[in-house]
Every structure is written in C-alpha cells, then in structure tokens.
Amino acid sequence: MSQQSDPKPTPDTSGDGWRVLSYLIGGVLVYGGIGFGLDRWLGTQFLLPVGIVLGAGLTILMLHFRYGRS
C-alpha cells in the first residue's frame, strides 16, 4: 500500500501475443462470417474463403498500425 509512487516506464507486453491471437480470430470470424452469410444468401460458393482471407489480411494490417509502429 505504500509503494504506489514508483512509476513503470515500459508497459507490460507479456500478454500481447495472446491479444494478437484474439484479434486474428476476431478478424477471421467477422469477415468469414460475412462471407458465409453472403454465400447462403446468394447461393454462391466462393465468398466464405474470400472472407476468411480478407479478414486475416485486414487484421494483420490493423496489427501493423496498432503494434508495428512503436
């Protein structure tokens, strides 16, 4: 209770890998899900894989903006 004042210069990064993983799952889930829904709606076959790849790509782009430029 007494040592509240010592500042921590570097933020903790030990859980970053797990958070990146949850972003990757989230991206694939969202855009893969949209592709799956469009496939069901339009009766096509190719939009689910397109959505999965698009989601993974967008997530990597976001991780670049978020973590890549420190």
């Binding site: 921590k8 859980g15 797990w18 958070r19 989230g26 967008l58 976001m62 903006f65 978020r66």
Partner: protein
C-alpha cells in the same frame, strides 16, 4: 497373464471426467465442487494466517503470503494496469490467481488429482467474471457510449480503414476475449489430465496385462515418461493460472486506459 487371455485396453476419454456424486442423491456435489471448496478454505487459511500477526520480522507463513501478494500486486496488477489505479483491483486479481492456481495444481496432488477447470463450466464462470469486471469498470470510467467507442475504435488506424476495422475490434474485444480466456484454461487442464491418464493407464496395461515381456518393458518406459509429463503438467498448471490473471489485468488496464 497368458497371452490372448488379457482383457482389452480401454483408452481414457472424456467420460473419465464424468465423476459420480460423492454422496448419492446429492447430484451437484461432485469432486470438482469439493476441490474448489477445499481450495477456498486453504486460500482463506493461508492469507488469514499470513496476515493475522504481521510483524516487521516476518514468520515463514507471513513471508510466503507477502511473496504471493507482492507477486500479484507488482508483477501482474501494477505492470498491466499502471501504478495509478492498480490497487483497487489487487484483491480480485490475488483471489483469482490463487483460486485458479490451487485448482490447477490439485491435478498433481496425490489423492485429489483432479483439475477443477477441466470441467468447462468452471472455466466459463471464471472468464465471465473477468468479462463482467473489465467491462463494468470501463463503462463506469467512460460511460456506456464512451466505453463502446473506446473498445471499437482501434488506435493508430487511418480513418478510411476504420469502417473495416470496427467489427474486428468489437468482436475481438467483446466476444473472442472471454471465449479464448475460458477455452485456453479448460483445454490445457483437460488435455493435461487426459495425457497423464493415457501414459499411466497405458503403461500400467502394457506392464501388467499385455502378457508380453517386450511390451512390459515399453510399459515401464511409458510410466517413466508419464512421470516426466506430470512434471511438465505442474509447470503448465502454474503458467495457465498466471496467463489467465495477466490477461484479466491487461483487459482491465486497457478498458480504463485513456488511449490505447
């Protein structure tokens, strides 16, 4: 032990986790419930005993208690949440860490030997608790709309990409986080326990019931390997308790952070 007479080997499976109630008729009182209750008693006894007679020159118990407390406060809470606000969350994180740790390590304690979190409901409940808390403190700090904006707008992304990124950020922060938190803990405990069952039951079967000397030798090796796996599992059990609490602390930290 004549070849050909031996009974067939039944590999362990998920049904080995469905234990009968301890008292017949009391359906809810199963082994994981007992282990969890015991762990709570042990934790209360430990920290009560460690802090009851606090002295400048600590007793062994007080020293151990302060070691655990300092570890959670400094290495988990303060690093992840920041020195300004972390003290509020230390009691929760400390309790969560030791609850998960003891219930995981219970899998390696003789005669208990059951990881509570290998039943997925326990893992869901633990993850739901952290989910509710990190969302609640975020909403309390920023208001409902402000928090929602905070958790859906990723920092550092150029404006034209934002519409594409918002659903990813939202799903990742609100949905994937609690699911991955619970599944990671559950799957590690479940897989570790079943791995031990495979090595020990398989080794025992080859050693005693296969009726072949060569397989008996392999059985001895398998049992030795099972011993090594048990050591590895002890490590995994501690790591899983640690990573669960570190991530909970980081989610709290990012929910109340001013910006990413």
């Amino acid at each position: 032990m004549i070849a050909g007479v031996s009974t067939e080997f039944n590999p362990p499976g998920p049904e080995d986790f469905q234990l009968p109630p301890i008292f017949s008729g009391v359906e809810w009182f199963t082994k994981p419930v007992l282990v969890a209750a015991l762990s709570v008693i042990v934790i209360i006894w430990f920290f009560w005993g460690a802090s009851r007679k606090a002295e400048v020159v600590p007793s062994k118990l007080q020293f151990a208690g302060e070691l655990g407390y300092n570890f959670v406060r400094n290495s988990i809470a303060r690093d992840a949440i920041g020195s300004q606000e972390h003290m509020k969350y230390v009691p929760f994180l400390l309790g969560l860490f030791f609850f998960i740790l003891l219930n995981n390590v219970a899998a390696s304690i003789p005669f208990i030997q059951f990881p509570t979190f290998s039943h997925i409901g326990w893992a869901y409940a633990a993850a739901a608790l952290s989910w509710i808390i990190y969302n609640a403190v975020g909403i309390k700090k920023k208001g409902l709309l402000g928090y929602f904006k905070h958790q859906t707008m990723p920092a550092g992304v150029p404006g034209w990409l934002m519409p594409l990124m918002i659903p990813i950020e939202f799903i990742s922060n609100i949905l994937v986080r609690p699911v991955s938190l619970s599944l990671r803990l559950f799957a590690n405990m479940f897989a570790g326990h079943i791995l031990l069952l495979v090595f020990v039951l398989g080794g025992e079967y080859m050693l005693l019931h296969s009726g072949s000397i060569a397989l008996g030798g392999v059985g001895i090796l398998t049992l030795l390997m099972g011993l090594a796996i048990a050591g590895l599992e002890l490590f995994v059990q501690c790591i899983q308790a640690y990573i669960f609490v570190v991530l909970t602390a980081q989610y709290i930290g990012s929910a109340i952070a001013d910006e990413h």
